[in-house]
Amino acid sequence: MNLEVLAGCLASGACVVTQISSGLIVGMLLFLVASGLSLIFGVLGIVNFAHGAFYMAGAYFALLAYEQTASFTAALAFGALAAGVIGVAFERFIMSRVYGHDVLMQLLVCYAAILIFDDLVKILFGADYKLMGMPDAFATAPIQIAGGFVPSYYIFMLVMALAAGLGLWLGINKTRIGKIIRALAINPQMVGALGINTKLLYAGVFGLGCVLAGLAGALAAPVRSLTPGMGLSVLIESFIVTVIGGMGSIPGALVAALLIGLTRSFGAIGFPLFVDGLMFGLMALVLVVRPSGLLGAKAS
């Protein structure tokens, strides 16, 4: 424990700005992964324990595209799309076979998928750390806010993540296809009876969730090192976010992701070893007081 250092940081504007900005981007990455997870749970009613693998896929395919084209826009698009395509294939060929089985079957299938994906990444890209490096467009001097330095890429990440989140929320709540997806979550038989291809829609929703995870991975690639096991820690944290925010709630995921991001960045100064403990303690507390999460629908 190092609470004096934490108090010292809180007293200095520069330190607060730096920590808030790093907390925000951690939170934003978690929000993207967790909103995909939450979307899949809300509509399909399954917990995608392999979601971290799509985050990893997004990062590695973004790196591949960046090395080939040297264009960061292409890297982002390719990373997100590749994760989405793999996601749809995974849903169609493997996951859809265990719908309706108990959650343990789904867990086991996802665990097998994680093992396979991690090894495939090792075979395709190598087992050692990979770095993407900052794209040229963002290789500028950091922006100074209240004495603290914030890299311009952080601002870009923040905007991208918020835009994706807003787009998702508008898409689900304001469009016709969003209405169908909401109906699918409540009564799939009825939606099917109305002549809508529910299998296609399930695959689409699963793919969309994976696109979000892939986008998060691609956005993280310039600021994180890429390793074959990178999906796991993100997976565990995005579970915490989903549970605290409420399973199936996108705004809940945003609030919880920011909470966890800031807890991490300030906790790393005050009590670096106990950050995980604090997060899981928070998760247990939320589950006890309000099992459906902060913004989740009340469980019947």
Binding site: L104, A112, A113, I116, K122, F274, D276, F280, M283, L287
Partner: protein, 333 residues
Amino acid sequence: MRRESLRDLFIAAVALAVLLVLPVLFPQPALRDFLVYVIAYGLLAMSLNLLVGLTGLVSFGHAAYFASGAYSFGLLMQSGHFSVPMAMLCALAGTALLALVIGAICVRLKEIYFSFITLAFQMFIHSIILTWVDVTGGDQGLRGGIPRPAFLGIDLSQAGTLYAFCAVVFIVCLLIMRQVWQSPFGYTLRMIRDNPARANFLGVNVLRMKLGIFVLAGTMASMAGILMALFVSGAYAEFAFWTMSGEAIFMIMLGGMQVFLGPVIGAFLLQTLNHYVTIYTEHHGLVLGLVILAIVLGLRRGVADYARDWLAARRTTREAAALEAKPAKKAVS
């Protein structure tokens, strides 16, 4: 004594004899080490199956009690004031208390929320182990080895004796769990798994029953942790990490959750797979993943459950065939 209990005792005696004779027939130390791992992980998976298979409570945080047993036993032995059986009893009692406190909170939640809160508590304990370096050694684990002073003429510092001790404890624990599995309490738990609302109407105190099995399963898991600590002469933070609970779940799923000994079979399968796959290929995850996928998508249940269903199906077709055959004979005569 009932006939079934006698049969269980007989099977247990045979199993113990096999476990004790195996290292005599094949004296390589590698086999003994392999069997101790199967025993410790098998016991962990069996104890978890009291929750998963019997009661329908999918705990993602069962390794917390495994770690609690290992650490408290290790720390008590290192203090030097305790004999091995005394330290074991204290570690079991301490873990039972821990499981009682955590269980009292967890059993109120249902389905996936129960899974998540057990996971949260386990990771909370993992963080405490990592943070409290003075006592637990942090991520280095409990260092300096665990002393194994002789008691009642049993010297556990000899590898052969340690193995025999583990085998006896294992079989005794299995017998205890078998008793629970077949008892009225066990059938009440099955009713709670299949229809909690009806169990409640019949006057069963569902929460108390769930808490009871939660504490028992936690205590059994801590026994597995104690055996592991005795064997590796240490305790590590990984014991409390979520991957340990995950492995226990995979053993149950591989072996089967409705047949009593299914989890032990799963533990044996997973250990064998790990052992051989790492020898022959560096792409360990790829092979293991494909095998798991084949079992899940092919059999759709654990190996032991599949065998049981297959035998049951065969018996029904035979009986049906016999029934058909009888009237035909009569007609001829």
